[in-house]
């Protein structure tokens, strides 16, 4: 699918917003296993930590963006629990890409003066909660029916990504070893991140020999099922400069959605990131070659390969070759998913916000052992549904504005 020029022109219309808004606070809470917790508790603790990280109080928050897999009205109990009275509310739910998709509308609202501090937050106890992943999946068959897929019993989401991986292998000669490189690289980064859930050594052979789930994908091609929460706080850049942390500016952002069901995706080897990516880069006035890191939504190993291609780090079909020989592992040519990603760090159902938080930590120089020596720009990319929605953000330090 080729992207019409009008879509890129539309993105350039956001150019004046480049850098005007910054991430002033960021935090995670309860990543991994948090027995006894529920979604709201995790979310609120992450939100509280992010607001404190910014040097603000909860009463400073007058904008909220959040959503949940299990509740269609999630903004309301969150507002109630936080005790805030926002003038800006966004509950857009486009799966795991949501929290990146929440950026651009929040940037507009802040720039327009509708609000002064927006909290974007997420929490999920899907690993530990009584109403967990299994129950939620069963309930969603009624709440979000897919009558043209469910009768064939695809195990979603993994079957959808397996079909994409099989097609990518068929069209471009991508190999299972190349898919495995993605998981091994993620583990390499995770081993440098104390917050990461899985930190044992992992070899390509381990990935290839892991239990098959949906061919060509094995269990080590699949993201974790963890608890966890994350939150960020956005303010106008002039205010962010006077706050506690170095501001991390939103240089570009865009969201694209082409389908819901995998069977309705136009072409399984090109995702809507081929639209959201160029649009976000057009707003930022930058391109993939300007990025010091890529934080990509790696729900499955094929995701990383698809997004490297669609975001312009390599040509379509060359993602497998791009990741070979540790190219995206620590010390490789491009730093990808430096926290360990959804494959090895954390994946509480929707991962998008963790791409932003890891980028913020790297851009602030607060990433500890895994800190990159050059960290001025980052692309964060979120995926939702079954390759259904894509959201991209370009972040940068103050000297990139």
């Amino acid at each position: 699918m080729s992207i019409p020029q009008s879509h890129l022109d539309a993105a350039k219309a956001n150019r004046h917003l480049r850098g005007r808004i910054a991430i002033a606070g960021a935090a995670t809470y309860g990543c991994g296993e948090s027995p006894g917790m529920d979604d709201m508790t995790l979310l609120v603790r992450a939100a509280h930590a992010a607001v404190a990280d910014a040097g603000l109080s909860m009463q400073d928050i007058d904008g909220l963006a959040t959503c949940s897999v299990n509740s269609g009205m999630w903004t309301m109990p969150v507002i109630e629990h936080l005790g805030i009275n926002p003038t800006y509310v966004d509950g857009t739910m486009v799966g795991g890409s949501s929290f990146i998709a929440h950026l651009l509308p929040a940037v507009r609202a802040l720039d327009a003066g509708q609000c002064n501090a927006v909290l974007i937050c997420y929490g999920s106890a899907q690993r530990s909660a009584a109403f967990g992943r299994k129950e939620s999946t069963a309930a969603r068959r009624f709440m979000d029916p897919q009558p043209y897929e469910h009768p064939f019993e695809p195990v979603l989401p993994v079957t959808a990504y397996a079909l994409a991986a099989a097609r990518h292998m068929h069209e471009f000669g991508t190999t299972r070893e190349q898919l495995a490189e993605v998981a091994v690289a993620a583990r390499g980064w995770a081993q440098q991140n104390p917050e990461a859930f899985m930190r044992d050594p992992l070899s390509i052979d381990d990935v290839l020999k892991s239990r098959r789930v949906a061919s060509p994908l094995g269990v080590r091609d699949c993201c974790l099922v963890t608890d966890g929460a994350g939150a960020i706080v956005l303010t106008r850049a002039d205010r962010a400069r006077d706050l506690k942390q170095p501001p991390i500016h939103v240089l570009g952002s865009a969201t694209a959605c082409w389908n819901r069901q995998i069977s309705c995706m136009p072409d399984l080897t090109t995702t809507a990131a081929a639209q959201s990516g160029p649009q976000a880069f057009a707003m930022a006035g930058l391109s993939a070659k300007d990025m010091d890191m890529a934080q990509l939504y790696d729900a499955f190993t094929i995701n990383t390969i698809l997004f490297l291609e669609d975001l312009g780090f390599c040509k379509k079909g060359e993602g497998g070759a791009f990741v070979q020989n540790g190219a995206i592992a620590p010390g490789g040519r491009l730093a990808v998913n430096t926290n360990g990603g959804g494959l090895s760090c954390v994946h509480p159902g929707m991962y998008g916000i963790f791409t932003l938080i890891e980028a913020v930590r790297q851009l602030r120089g607060q990433a500890g052992q895994r800190q990159l020596t050059r960290a001025r720009t980052a692309v964060c990319h979120g995926n939702g549904g079954t390759l259904s929605s894509q959201a991209t953000a370009i972040l940068g330090t103050a000297d990139t504005v």
Partner: protein, 132 residues
């Protein structure tokens, strides 16, 4: 009472008939069933009987415990009418299903409901005048 596109589609299947939609304005076939043509916006779409012939666009073998029925196939099929659908290719081991394979639809009845499944097309199945 009016019938939704989904209800109509399923009622036809339950009666053993596989129908898809076609746009009266741009003539393109449409699947999944819906109210408006996704290509040109026209409505209403008309119901037609596809040839049932298609090609495997992608395929996956889903792991399942033997006592639960064992591994099974899930595939995306591109029908010759130019639309794609999820289904299963049966009558062959799941791992024997491959991309590019010619397949033929049949309507099966499972739990009292009609369901479109596929099996490998015969080698002599004529498509557009040539052997598949």
């Amino acid at each position: 009472m009016q019938m939704s596109a989904q209800t109509h589609y399923q009622a036809e299947l339950d009666a053993g008939r596989f129908c898809i939609q076609q746009c009266p304005q741009c003539s393109k076939h449409v699947f999944t069933p819906r109210e408006l043509c996704p290509h040109c916006g026209a409505s209403p779409l008309k119901w037609v009987r596809p040839s049932g012939l298609g090609v495997v666009y992608s395929t996956s073998t889903i792991a399942r415990k033997p006592d639960a029925g064992g591994d099974y196939n899930v595939a995306l099929i591109d029908l010759d009418e130019g639309v794609r659908m999820m289904s299963r290719v049966e009558d062959v081991p799941p791992d024997a299903v491959h991309i590019g394979q010619r397949v033929q639809a049949r309507v099966a009845q499972r739990d009292g409901r009609g369901l479109v499944l596929f099996h490998p097309a015969n080698a002599d199945t004529k498509v557009n005048g040539s052997a598949a």
